[in-house]
């Protein structure tokens, strides 16, 4: 019990003192996950919107598949991306295995289905309300999709934050494709795993506190933005 208290105190000193190692790890985590979210949004949002307003055969199957992919196990994603990027793999000559780029790729694969599936749900719900009005005003499906993305932008923001939370909090994928190399590919989650097994609890705990705080702040931010938007735009 005492050692836990000491660990907390040490963790707090690291955070309060802007410990260089801790800051570097947190910085890389944010950088990798933010880039992954941006790319996943650019891919996932249009896919979600097109499935939401589209009518094609196999649509229902695609939705089920997409929803299932939300639960992709990170370690499996890591393994597949690893195989693709490893020397003998099809993308091996890019030489990006064990770099932050590989981590971005793995996290993008992980959260693109989440962003696509959740935005599909939100946009489809809105489409039910807007459908006749938009068609009456002369909107084609592509116009409708863009209008709906814009009109649900505050709900969609919550999804992006959920995606970011998932990316920043996963450990399996980045561990496998990043290799957890000190100063190069070490992010919050992989450092926590490593330091815990080494017995260096203060750094692990400090990162844990930062990670949890980050997730809470992001979600609070999402709630505030939605609330403000609802009051402002109805």
């Amino acid at each position: 019990m005492n050692s836990l208290g000491e660990a907390f105190a040490a963790a707090w000193r690291l955070i309060a003192g802007f410990d260089a190692e801790l800051a570097q790890v947190v910085g890389l985590s944010l950088q990798v996950s933010l880039i992954a979210v941006v790319i996943a949004t650019l891919i996932g949002l249009p896919i979600g919107a097109m499935i939401a307003v589209g009518r094609f055969s196999g649509r229902q199957t695609l939705i089920v598949l997409l929803n299932a992919l939300m639960g992709l196990p990170p370690v499996v994603v890591g393994l597949v991306v690893y195989l693709l990027l490893s020397r003998a793999g099809p993308l091996g000559n890019l030489g990006i295995l064990f770099t932050p780029t590989a981590m971005v790729i793995a996290q993008t694969v992980l959260i693109t289905p989440i962003i696509a599936a959740l935005s599909r749900q939100i946009i489809e719900d809105a489409w039910r309300e807007y459908d006749e009005q938009l068609r009456s005003l002369g909107a084609r499906r592509i116009n409708a999709a863009m209008t709906l993305i814009w009109d649900t932008r505050f709900s969609l923001l919550t999804i992006l934050l959920a995606g970011f939370g998932r990316a920043a909090a996963e450990v399996g994928a980045v561990m496998i494709v990043g290799g957890n190399i000190a100063g190069v590919t070490r992010v919050m989650t992989t450092t926590i795993a490593l330091e815990t097994s080494k017995g260096d609890l203060p750094l692990a705990l400090g990162l844990g506190i930062v990670l949890i705080t980050l997730v809470i702040v992001l979600n609070a931010l999402a709630a505030v933005i939605r609330e403000m938007a609802l009051r402002r735009y109805g």
Partner: protein, 240 residues
């Protein structure tokens, strides 16, 4: 665009027949009111005419929409105001401009035209406000402005005042008359006899998916030809 001809029009959803063989010819000019009890099929008939629903049988022909033998894009010449208008999450002005931009108007043209119609419906001072925070009556006026801005030959209105108080209803009816006076054909549904009388020149009385009468307004109220219409008038206005 007009006249609009309906030829043995039918529509079913699943096993339920909603429109059962309606034939009618709707001419340019008079304000046409589609009247009937709830569930008669008024809204569905209007959505079929506007092209939001596809008939399961029969034909809809816009006789005036043939330009040198080629049919023009009929949707571009129509607009519709719904019972509950859907306002986009943007300003009142941007809501009106939305349809204009879809119709291919430049940003400048759209803006000018949108301000004009907002002025006419009395919402110019609310142009910059988010549309969804306007009151119900204001939103319906905005919906009218949005439809009118498109300069349609035909304007469909589906129970445009069903959820509004008397003052807002009056505003809406005045605007509808102004749109009529500008040369746009008005086709509207209502189940309110008072409104039918105030706004209608001719009545299409629908009951249970069938067209029972298509008559000038005076004749309809003086001597309804069908027992259904007589019963409807009596039920809605027992004092008559």
């Amino acid at each position: 665009m007009l006249p609009l001809e309906l030829d043995q029009l039918t529509f079913s959803a699943g096993n339920a027949a909603i429109i059962r063989g309606i034939s009618a010819r709707i001419e340019a000019g008079p304000r046409t009111v589609i009247l009937g009890p709830n569930g008669a099929g008024k809204s569905v008939l209007m959505r079929l005419c506007h092209g939001l629903l596809t008939p399961t049988g029969g034909r809809i022909v816009w006789h005036g929409a043939m330009n040198g033998g080629k049919s023009v894009d009929v949707r571009r010449h129509q607009a519709m105001v719904f019972q509950r208008p859907v306002m986009l999450r943007r300003s009142a002005l941007a809501n009106v401009m939305y349809g204009l931009k879809l119709a291919g108007k430049s940003r400048n043209q759209s803006g000018l035209r949108a301000m004009d119609v907002l002025e006419v419906v009395g919402l110019a001072q609310h142009a910059a406000r988010p549309a969804r925070v306007l009151s119900g009556g204001e939103q319906q006026r905005l919906a009218l402005a949005r439809a009118w801005a498109l300069g349609p030959d035909v304007l469909f209105l589906d129970e445009p005042t069903a959820n509004l108080d008397p003052a807002s209803t009056q505003d809406i009816e005045n605007i509808i008359n102004a749109i009529h006076a500008s040369g746009t054909k008005i086709i509207m549904t209502t189940h309110n006899l008072g409104q039918a009388r105030r706004l209608g020149d001719e009545i299409l009385f629908i009951s249970n998916g069938r067209l029972m009468e298509h008559t000038p307004i005076d004749k309809f109220f003086r001597q309804p030809a069908s027992s259904e219409a007589a019963a409807f008038i009596k039920g809605e206005m027992p004092w008559q």
